[in-house]
Structure formats: structure tokens, C-alpha cells
């Protein structure tokens, strides 16, 4: 298992490097120059040339990329061109927020998808099945920002601040700032709306997928055998059918992480959360190249690691699967 993990991580290195290279080249190919934004009213051609030289922006793109990689190898993620802040420090401050959002939104998705799929599969072509399928269709059709605004208007505005509309409270012991009070309860209150807004679309997708898998599995011979042996319906469904039906769903869950990161950009902006999504989008808009690279690197890495974890869970669901 350990060798498998190391091999997978080693295989991920070229993928991550390729992603960072593509992002590096693309960012420098689109119109816009961070130096103009940096110098603002004080812009002169002479000053701009000096600043470009200071940040190495006057060098060929591949040379710039090489320099960035060389610094990265030494643990230096660079410094934001606009704010002057170390990129790694900002990434580490924001990463826990986005990770929590993604994990909880996936939990929301599963909490909705699993019961809905089971009901849909076991009572196929009944009102319960049609209801679950219809809700799934609606869920897939609602974009994150729309679900977020609806939740905001209901729970923060109409219900007079039942749930906080914006911002973030860290879990105890995780706060990266001087002025901050960590609280589990306040953290949950802050994350619930964003997680639901982000998770609802995934829930719908997973419901449809899991329902189809369940329908397939419950018609297999080993389920018939289990029932014939007199096993109660609950263990048949949860222990035998669901476990096997989950394998394709888990694969899709891993792939959905990319969509969740994309959705997090929208949700974090809407709920004014200090996560990686807003960090990335701000960096792209400002053409803060170093910050964009930091964002690309961490999201690519997160995607690879989460998919590795997903692959490793196969063996938990199906003991026949072995890693070598």
C-alpha cells in the first residue's frame, strides 16, 4: 500500500508541473499587466520597466517559469506582486477554509444522495422514486450562486440572521490570525449555508448515479442469495447492495472535487469567505502571477491527493481490491 501511494504521488508530479506550466503560460498570454495596477497613478514607463525587471517579468516566459520552479524547490512560493505578501503564507491561511467547505459540501451531497438513491432504487417507478428523481433534476439545474442567494435571503434576511450571511469563524486552535476566537458552533453556523449551496448540485448528480448503480446491484444474484438465506432487508441493502453500488459513485466523487473547487470560487465570493477560491479569482483578476501560480499549484495538488484518497477507499468498499 505504501509503495502504491508513493508511486501515485510520484506519478502526480509531472501532472502538477504540467498544470502549473499551462497556467503560467496562459496567464502571461492574456491581456493585462500587473505592473500597471501596482504603480497606479504613479505609472511611468521608466518605473514600469524597473518593476518588471525586479520581478523578472521582462525575461522570456520559460525562463520565468524555470526561476519560479527553482524557487519552489527551495520552498519559496514567491511574493504577491500587488500586496507584497508571501504566497505560501496566504495559501496556508486560506486552505483550511476551502478544505472544510469542500469536505462538508461533499458530506451534504452524500447525506442527501444516499437515502434518496436507496429509496429511488428500492421503490422504482413509485411516487417516492419519481420525487427523488425530480428533486435530483432540480438540484442539478440550480447553479451554486442561485442556491446561495436563496439560502442567504431566507436564513439571513427573512429569518433575521438565523445563519450568518458572510465571513468565517475558525475551529478552535486553527485560527491563523492574532485577533480571532475559534468556536465549533460558530464555525458550523458559518459553513452550513455555503456547504449546502455547493453540495446540493453534487447531491443531485450522485443521487442519479447511485440510484442507477443500486438498481443494477439489487438485481444481481448475490443479493437474491442474501435475501433467500433469510437476511433482513436492512443489512442486504446497506451492507451488501449499497457498499458495492458505491464504487462508481466514489470514483465520480473524486472527479467532482474539481467542480467543487470551481464552485467554491463562486460560493466563497458570495458568502465573503476567506478561502482559496476568492484568493484565486482575485489573483486572476489582478494578474497577480505569483498568486495565481500558488493557487494553481495547491488546487492541482489537492485534486491529486483527494483522488488518491478516493482510490484508496475502494479497498474499504470491496476487499477484493488490492494495491501493489
Amino acid at each position: 500500500m505504501r509503495i502504491y501511494i508513493l508511486r501515485r504521488l510520484a506519478e502526480a508530479v509531472p501532472t502538477i508541473l504540467m498544470i502549473t506550466l499551462v497556467v503560467f503560460v496562459m496567464m502571461r498570454s492574456i491581456p493585462g499587466d500587473p505592473v500597471v495596477a501596482l504603480l497606479g497613478d504613479a505609472f511611468t514607463e521608466e518605473d514600469a520597466a524597473k518593476v518588471r525587471n525586479e520581478y523578472g517579468l521582462d525575461k522570456p516566459i520559460l525562463v520565468q517559469y524555470g526561476l519560479w520552479l527553482a524557487k519552489l524547490a527551495q520552498g519559496d512560493w514567491g511574493t504577491s506582486i500587488l500586496s507584497g505578501r508571501p504566497v505560501l503564507k496566504d495559501v496556508l491561511v486560506r486552505l483550511p477554509v476551502t478544505l472544510e467547505l469542500i469536505v462538508l459540501s461533499m458530506a451534504v451531497a452524500l447525506a442527501i444522495a444516499i437515502p434518496a438513491a436507496i429509496i429511488g432504487a428500492l421503490r422504482q417507478n413509485t411516487w417516492a422514486d419519481y420525487s427523488a428523481t425530480t428533486i435530483a433534476m432540480i438540484g442539478v439545474s440550480i447553479p451554486e450562486f442561485f442556491a446561495g442567494v436563496l439560502l442567504l435571503l431566507v436564513f439571513s434576511v427573512a429569518l433575521h440572521g438565523t445563519l450568518p450571511s458572510s465571513g468565517w469563524v475558525y475551529l478552535p486552535g486553527t485560527c491563523p490570525m492574532l485577533v480571532c476566537t475559534g468556536s465549533v458552533w460558530a464555525n458550523m453556523m458559518h459553513v452550513v449555508m455555503p456547504a449546502v449551496a455547493l453540495g446540493i448540485g453534487r447531491a443531485a448528480l450522485l443521487t442519479r448515479l447511485l440510484r442507477a448503480s443500486m438498481l443494477e446491484v439489487i438485481r444481481t444474484e448475490y443479493i437474491t442469495t442474501a435475501r433467500a438465506k433469510g437476511l433482513a432487508e436492512k443489512p442486504v441493502v446497506l451492507k451488501h447492495a449499497l457498499k458495492n453500488a458505491l464504487i462508481p459513485t466514489v470514483t465520480v466523487m473524486g472527479l467532482q472535487v474539481g467542480f467543487l473547487i470551481g464552485g467554491a470560487i463562486v460560493v466563497e465570493a458570495l458568502f465573503a469567505m476567506p478561502g482559496l477560491g476568492s484568493f484565486g479569482i482575485d489573483a486572476i483578476i489582478a494578474r497577480d502571477y505569483q498568486q495565481v501560480q500558488g493557487f494553481a499549484l495547491i488546487t492541482a495538488f489537492a485534486f491529486v491527493v483527494i483522488n488518491l484518497i478516493v482510490d484508496l477507499t475502494y479497498s474499504l468498499l470491496d476487499p477484493r481490491i488490492r494495491y501493489a
Binding site: 492574456i30 491581456p31 493585462g32 499587466d33 500587473p34 500597471v36 495596477a37 504603480l39 497606479g40 497613478d41 504613479a42 505609472f43 511611468t44 514607463e45 518605473d47 518593476v51 511574493t79 504577491s80 500587488l82 500586496s83 507584497g84 505578501r85 508571501p86 496566504d90 491561511v93 486560506r94 442567494v149 442567504l152 435571503l153 439571513s156 434576511v157 433575521h160 440572521g161 450568518p164 450571511s165 458572510s166 465571513g167 468565517w168 491563523p176 490570525m177 492574532l178 485577533v179 465570493a269 458570495l270 458568502f271 465573503a272 476567506p274 476568492s278 484568493f279 482575485d282 483578476i285 489582478a286 494578474r287
Partner: protein, 532 residues
């Protein structure tokens, strides 16, 4: 009841005394003010970084020599008094004795000289350096007296020190020497040492900025607040939800589109607005580089707007400013034409010189050679920073279509716009609101032919002459005459095409007291207190 008048007077005096006592005790000390900004703070070097959000921190962490009231009266800051020599060339400031920086070092004449010299040093790349063009030198007369010598009379020296790019901010020389420009830009608290009512505690970009009361602030008893926490909420819907839920006390900038909704949801909210000091423009490019190299000094007329007849056809008679204001601002702005926004000192309303007249616009276009045989097509650039820009661009597109002109809207992000508009990039017309202006002189760095921000790229030195004459004229009555003449000249040439003022809104909870609205110029929490 024998002396009703006397009794009434006595009651009034008692009431006034009681009132006075009540007022004196009314300002509650302590508490945390929760502020939301609509945009992220770009950086925290007060002499270098651009953006209002940074400035609104600087006006609380920093102090300067003088400040200015909303009525335009100069008031002491670190300087307790000042004198201007009869020839207008020497400004002598006497500093207060009790002003210290947040690191405990004294604010003295040497510190003032250090700061102005730093701003004027090209190596600092200060965004306010251009305002100090008139300054010849700064001399320390004694520990508490500093003298600024000018090259020529400059009527707006005090305005400049008080409010240009929101005024001079004094840094602790010790902190400047100890820490790097990157440390200041990144907002390291130990590098961001000034002498304002609040000291910077931390800035975690994208998360929060925290300022605490500076106990040794030179004005006794101020500030009232213990702490100010600033965070960024970009989405106006989320801003409204946070405000309605009482999660924020103050929205430092609020979208004009949502004011009516917020008012309906929060009848007790303090919705503040005032004079429109920011111009909303539909800028037309006047020249292009003759050699094809952006920013080249070798200029040729712009193929469309190089012809003043076309500028006047579109900018003067072809645009219905009233309709734009009605549709884009729901009527909450002033249709305007002059180079100086409606709320700016010495402005003159010249809008009537350009009445909406499509027939006249068509005639001018025909005179310039455009018509059904040779239709005019142009590119209308705008950006995503504010939704209203795109609305205005769409209305202009519709209006110019009525005179046979096709405008293709190009919507880009703010940085792309900056690169195109300020770097002599290819565009025909753009829609934007530019800097907030206190006086005409302030516009020189946007509109003079030599200005980096002369995005129209006009080359008419008469504009520079007007700015120079206006700035050097010490007689206010004569300045008004120059301003009027300049406005009329501007209408004739349309190097600068204003559409309207750009309204600015701030919103406070009913319990936030003591705040004075000063548009984008100053956001100061020094006298703010919380009544709850």
C-alpha cells in the same frame, strides 16, 4: 407665570445645559466597529499603494499636517498652526508638542521633512509624487517648526496636503528605515507606524484588518472605539444580508443600484450620500501613436475622434445624459458635461451647452463625412468593476444607433481596462468613473497633456495652461473666472467627456454615531461611537 418670557428662557438655558451634559456623556467609549468594504485592500504602503480601500485605512492609522472638513475648512492635524508668506512661496507649520508615532517616537519637523522628501524621491515610486511638483524643498527650522518652500505660488498647497489622494500621511522615519517597502505594502504592523487615532494590529488579506485605539493619540479622549475590524464583502446582496442581520455596523461603499432595496429593508439605516465628486465619463481617444508604438510622443489624430466634429456629434449632441442617468442611476445622479464634477469646488454647469439633439449630431457627422454611404462604427470599451458601467455603455450604444452610429461594446476586466486606457492601447471610447475630485487642480494628473493618466491622449497644451493658471492664481474670484473659461473650452474641444456625476453611498446602522460623511475623500472613525 409672572415672567413667562424669562421663565421660558430659563427653561431653554436649563434644557441646553442638560442637553450639553447629555451630549458630553452621550459618546460611549469602547466597543468594536465592524466595517465592510466592497473591494479588497490592495496593499498598505500609504505613500505608494493605489485604491480607496487603502486610503480609508490610512486616514485612521495615519496623521498628517492638516486636514479638511466637508465644508472645505482646513483644520489642524499634527500641525497646530501654519503661516503662508505674502508671496505664497513659504508655508511654515508649527507642530503640536504631544504628537507621537505608534512606536513612541516623536512627530517632529525632521519626521515631516523625511516623509515629504521620501514622497518626492522618484525611487519611492509614490503615487502622490506628482502633487508635490510645486515643492522646492523642505526645511527644518526647529524641532517643532517645518517650512515648505515652493517653486511658484500654488493656491492648493493646503488642499494637497489635506486631501490629494486623501492627504499627506506621516510615517515614523525609524520604521521606514528599519523595514522594507514590501513589509509596508504587505501591511506588517511594525512597519506601518504612523500617528493616527488607531494603530494597525494585523492585516490578513482576504480575511480581516484590525485597528486598535492608540492611547497616546494627541487629541485627548479620542478615539472612542476600542477596535475597528474591516472585512471585504464584494457582493451587494451579501452586504445587504450582513447589514440586515446586524453583522456589520458600516458599509463603507455601497452600490447605488441597491440603495432603494436596502432602505426598504432597513428603515432605520443611516444612508449617507452627498455631492457628486467623481465624474462618470465616456472618454473619447483623441490621438494615436503615429509610429504604432503605445505611449509614443509621435502622435497622429485618432481615426474617428481625432476630428472634433465627431467628438461633438457623439459626446455633445448624440448622448442623452438625462436618459443615461434615469436608466443607469435610477435618477440618483446629476447629468453633467464639464471637466469638473458637480460636487467639486469652482465647478460650472455647462451641460446646457450640449443639449441632446440627434439632428444636429447627424449633421455634424455628415459634415465629417459619415452617413449611410460611410457608416461610423466604433468600439466602446468598459469593464466589469461596476455593473453600472455596462448599463451606461448599453444606453450609449442605443443612443448612438439613433444617429446611425454602431457602437460595439467590449467588456473587459479592470486590469485589462487599465492596461488599455492608461497605456495608450486601442480603444475609441470608454465608460468609467474616475478619481474623486475636491478641486479642479486635482484633475491635472488625469487630464493634462503630460499626465500619465491622460487616457484621451490629447496633446493640447492649452489644457495644461489652464491648469497652471488656475493652480497659481491666489485670488479665489479670479480662479473662478479661469475655471469657467476652462470648462467652456473643455466643451468646445471635448478632450474630456463627462456623462454625469457618480453618486457615492455609505450606510451605517442606527447605533453608529459621530461619523461624518466625506464621500470617498475621508473615512474617519476618530469620533465614531456605538450607542448600544
Amino acid at each position: 407665570m409672572r415672567h413667562p418670557v424669562r421663565n421660558a428662557a430659563t427653561l431653554i438655558v436649563i434644557a441646553m445645559m442638560l442637553g450639553g451634559v447629555t451630549v458630553a456623556h452621550a459618546q460611549k467609549r469602547g466597543g468594536t466597529l465592524r466595517v465592510a468594504y466592497g473591494n479588497e485592500i490592495a496593499g498598505l504602503d500609504f505613500h505608494v499603494t493605489a485604491g480607496y480601500e487603502m486610503i480609508w485605512v490610512a486616514t485612521n492609522v495615519g496623521c498628517g499636517l492638516v486636514s479638511i472638513t466637508p465644508e472645505g475648512k482646513f483644520i489642524p492635524d499634527a500641525a497646530e498652526s501654519w503661516q503662508i508668506s505674502p508671496d505664497g512661496l513659504l508655508y511654515t507649520f508649527k507642530l503640536r508638542n504631544n504628537v507621537v508615532f505608534h512606536d513612541g517616537t516623536k512627530v517632529d519637523a525632521a519626521a515631516v521633512k523625511f516623509n515629504i522628501d521620501r514622497i518626492m524621491d522618484p525611487a519611492t515610486r509614490s503615487s502622490v509624487r506628482t502633487f508635490y511638483e510645486a515643492v522646492h524643498s523642505v526645511e527644518v527650522l526647529d524641532a517643532r517648526t517645518v517650512q515648505i518652500r515652493l517653486k511658484h505660488p500654488y493656491a492648493f498647497m493646503l488642499h494637497m496636503l489635506a486631501a490629494y489622494r486623501m492627504g499627506l500621511v506621516l510615517y515614523s522615519p525609524a520604521a521606514i528605515q528599519k523595514y522594507s517597502p514590501e513589509d509596508r505594502r504587505a501591511g506588517k504592523p511594525e512597519a506601518t507606524i504612523s500617528c493616527g487615532p488607531f494603530r494597525l494590529i494585523e492585516w490578513v488579506k482576504g480575511n480581516q484588518l484590525v485597528m486598535d485605539r492608540f492611547d497616546k493619540y494627541f487629541e485627548p479622549g479620542l478615539p472612542y472605539l476600542d477596535r475597528v475590524i474591516i472585512r471585504t464583502i464584494k457582493d451587494p446582496v451579501t452586504q445587504m444580508a450582513a447589514f440586515k442581520a446586524g453583522e456589520v455596523d458600516f458599509l463603507a461603499d455601497f452600490s447605488v443600484d441597491h440603495v432603494d432595496t436596502l432602505r426598504a429593508q432597513n428603515p432605520n439605516a443611516q444612508i449617507m450620500t452627498g455631492k457628486e465628486t467623481t465624474p462618470m465619463v465616456a472618454m473619447m481617444k483623441v490621438t494615436v501613436p503615429a509610429d504604432g508604438k503605445p505611449m509614443s510622443k509621435n502622435r497622429a489624430p485618432h481615426p474617428i475622434f481625432g476630428d472634433v466634429r465627431v467628438r461633438k456629434a457623439l459626446g455633445c449632441y448624440g448622448i442623452d445624459r438625462k436618459e443615461i442617468v434615469k436608466l443607469a442611476f435610477k435618477g440618483q445622479a446629476t447629468p453633467w458635461l464639464g471637466i469638473i464634477p458637480p460636487g467639486t469646488q469652482d465647478t460650472v454647469d455647462v451641460t446646457s451647452l450640449c443639449p441632446y439633439d440627434p439632428a444636429k449630431a447627424k449633421a455634424l457627422l455628415a459634415e465629417a463625412g459619415y452617413g449611410p454611404q460611410k457608416p461610423l462604427t466604433l468600439e466602446l470599451l468598459t469593464n466589469t468593476e461596476k455593473a453600472v458601467f455596462n448599463v451606461i455603455a448599453t444606453v450609449i450604444k442605443e443612443q448612438v444607433a439613433r444617429i446611425g452610429v454602431t457602437a460595439n461594446i467590449r467588456l473587459v476586466d479592470k486590469v485589462s481596462w487599465l492596461n488599455t486606457a492608461t497605456q495608450d492601447g486601442p480603444f475609441d471610447m470608454y465608460v468609467e468613473d474616475l478619481a474623486s475630485l475636491l478641486v479642479v487642480d486635482q484633475n491635472a494628473y488625469l487630464a493634462a497633456s503630460t499626465a500619465a493618466w491622460n487616457s484621451a491622449r490629447h496633446t493640447d497644451t492649452k489644457v495644461d495652461d489652464y491648469f497652471a493658471r488656475y493652480a497659481r492664481e491666489m485670488d479665489s474670484a479670479k480662479r473662478k473666472v479661469i475655471a469657467k473659461e476652462f470648462q467652456e473650452f473643455s466643451v468646445e474641444n471635448l478632450y474630456w467627456n463627462t456623462i454625469s456625476g457618480s453618486p457615492f453611498y455609505q450606510v451605517a446602522q442606527p447605533w453608529m454615531k459621530g461619523y461624518t460623511y466625506q464621500a470617498e475623500f475621508k473615512v474617519i472613525y476618530r469620533k465614531v461611537w456605538l450607542d448600544r
